[in-house]
């Protein structure tokens, strides 16, 4: 059964404005995918890629997210040297090797995950952040290894670990090896739990398939950005299988919250404060100290 939905679309929301658009020297406006408001690109960037009119959270690159997450000048990227191999010598209409070469050009050579160490309001945190622009954030061997290493950076430093998910699921081109990354990443969560290190998952648009059904749903705290599509099977596959209309808001963050599947929906603007407070609570250990 297919679980990897066709989520990898080229963004159609970038509108090049005509030269007659006075007051936009860069000539780049973005149309909000939800409310269709035309937003000045710089304003959108200033507002963390959130539509100021309707609060729609647009997709972000891993680097943008790192900059949003961490205190300025504390960010270090790790594990940049890992590269995918082609264990199956996979070829569909296109060779896997060509796909990764193209993705390297488009989204950088670090595959679908970037690992960072940085401070959040003065506290060191290890983070693994999915890069959706890299083959739809699909998880193959490199992504799996990087997630495990991200957890291990937290274990070495005794600090919290954050996973920011944005993925269509497992990477088909690495076959069952991709599937096994689910087991690999999920098993490492046991080590974080044993060490009592806080593990927070932030699910963003979209978080599907093999990523949602492994480490991304194993955090001590699981939060989601507003309006994100999150689930196991893709809506199109479900629609085709059950042959009935999907409920309003199905598989969106708010739907998950209502069904008791996540802890909270958190606005991008509140993320750093939210995380700091969570880490304060989970590392206070007042009971143990008084015992």
């Amino acid at each position: 059964m297919s679980w990897f939905t066709r989520l990898i679309e080229t963004p159609k929301n970038i509108l090049k404005s005509s030269s007659s658009d006075a007051g936009s020297p860069e000539g780049l406006w973005v149309k909000c995918p939800r409310c269709s408001e035309a937003i000045y690109n710089k304003e959108l960037a200033r507002n963390s890629m959130v539509c100021s009119k309707c609060n729609h959270h647009l997709r972000m690159s891993a680097q943008q997210r790192a900059e949003l997450l961490f205190d300025a000048d504390t960010i270090e990227q790790l594990d940049t040297e890992l590269r995918s191999e082609d264990p199956l010598n996979f070829k569909d209409k296109k060779k896997y090797k060509d796909r990764t070469r193209d993705a390297n050009k488009k989204a950088g050579p670090e595959d679908a995950i970037r690992n960072y160490i940085g401070d959040i309001q003065g506290r060191t945190v290890s983070a693994s952040i999915f890069e959706f622009a890299y083959m739809g954030g699909s998880m193959g061997s490199v992504a799996g290894e990087k997630i495990v290493r991200g957890m291990e950076h937290a274990l070495e430093r005794g600090c919290p670990y954050i996973l920011i998910a944005a993925s269509g699921g497992a990477r088909m081109q690495e076959g069952v090896l991709s599937l096994m990354q689910m087991a690999k990443t999920s098993s490492t969560v046991n080590r974080l739990n044993e060490a009592k290190l806080p593990f927070v998952c932030l699910l963003t648009d979209p978080t599907m398939g093999g990523v949602s059904a492994s480490h991304a749903w194993l955090g001590d705290i699981i939060i989601a950005e507003p309006g994100a599509l999150i689930g196991f099977a893709g809506p199109r596959v479900i629609q085709e299988t059950v042959g009935q209309k999907l409920p309003e808001g199905f598989q969106r963050s708010e739907f998950l919250l209502e069904h008791g599947l996540i802890d909270a929906v958190v606005d991008r603007a509140d993320l750093r404060d939210y995380l700091s407070t969570t880490f304060n609570h989970l590392t206070d250990r007042s009971f143990r100290q008084s015992a």
Binding site: W3, S214, L218, Q251
Partner: protein
């Protein structure tokens, strides 16, 4: 019961029916018939050998979901004694797509958990075509924890097209249920042996497929996505499923060469679906040996090597 045959098995089917017809003519027809039957049986053996040894990946995918292929409930009477099926997840319902319980396997108590497809229409619906919902995975987890508490080893048997892609499954946390099992199985404090006996359909298979040993029956498959699903996405056309099957490398031989399984369990020469007794014995012999080895391994060593196996999964450079 009449056998079902796949398209590529047709020459075998034709020869088999010819042999059956001849045998049916009875003894009075003389020695010539007996000789002819013997000759045709010899021919059939060669044909079977030829067809199965040359089966393409797409054909092996078909074999792994052959309508006559034995399911776990077919194997249980041949492999185990004193089976007690245990039902339900204690929270929502009893998912028929996963069965489990206590059993005796060659003198030792075990917990058995496996996917169950249905044979006829009524049972197919009852079993939801072997595609579990969250409550199925949670039932499995309950039995894994039961096994841990009473120090009973776990044998799992994988045979599913995948986890159920339905509205209800999503509402009850399909992702969470699968993820939880992966994490819990990775650290379960008893030996766990996983065997693919049919289709290993992605996350829905893996959710009962993390353990100390991983085996596949000769004509089973294990894949991140079905060939049809893969073709629909990468070729944008399900008609390319055979090419997708080749590309995905989902056969037991493929997984063995990728270093992902410990051994291939041989099947009777025409496949498990033509001789379940022999298939059950071949599987039982290997599992018994494997279980003895694991039971002789100290628990800390067992858990450490399981964690290391999982840690080392993947192929990358740098």
């Amino acid at each position: 019961m009449a056998n079902s045959y796949l398209e590529f098995e047709r020459p075998i089917a034709e020869l088999t029916s010819k042999i059956d017809d001849l045998s049916g003519m009875g003894k009075d027809s003389g020695v010539n018939i007996a000789e002819e039957v013997e000759r045709l049986n010899g021919k059939k053996d060669k044909l079977v050998e030829q067809i199965y040894s040359k089966a393409t990946r797409a054909q092996i995918c078909q074999l792994s979901r052959h309508p006559d292929r034995p399911y776990i409930l077919d194997y249980i009477p041949h492999m185990f004694d004193d089976f007690q099926e245990l039902h339900g997840d204690r929270a929502f319902s009893d998912d028929g797509a996963i069965v489990g319980g206590l059993a005796n396997f060659r003198g030792k108590s075990i917990v058995v958990v496996g996917h169950q497809k249905g044979r006829d229409t009524k049972e197919k619906i009852k079993r939801n075509f072997g595609m579990p919902r969250p409550e199925g995975y949670r039932k499995a987890l309950r039995l894994f924890k039961l096994a841990e508490r009473f120090e009973i080893p776990v044998l799992t048997f994988i045979d599913t097209a995948g986890a159920w892609p339905g509205i209800d499954a999503e509402e009850r946390g399909q992702s969470e249920a699968i993820a939880r099992n992966l994490q819990e199985l990775a650290a379960l404090k008893v030996p766990v042996i996983c065997t693919v006996i049919g289709e290993g359909g992605s996350g829905g298979a893996l959710a009962i497929g993390v353990g100390d040993r991983m085996y596949m029956q000769q004509f089973s498959t294990y894949s991140v996505i079905s060939p049809e699903g893969c073709a629909a996405i990468l070729w944008r056309d399900r008609a390319h499923a055979d090419e997708a099957a080749e590309a995905l490398k989902p056969t037991a031989l493929d997984l063995q060469s990728l270093g992902l399984i410990d051994a291939i369990i041989p099947e009777p020469k025409e496949g498990a679906h033509r001789n379940i007794e022999e298939a059950a014995e071949l599987m039982g012999d290997l599992l018994e040996k494997s279980l003895d080895e694991l039971l002789n391994t100290p628990l800390d060593k067992l858990l450490k090597s399981r964690a290391e196996r999982l840690r080392n999964l993947g192929a990358f450079s740098g």
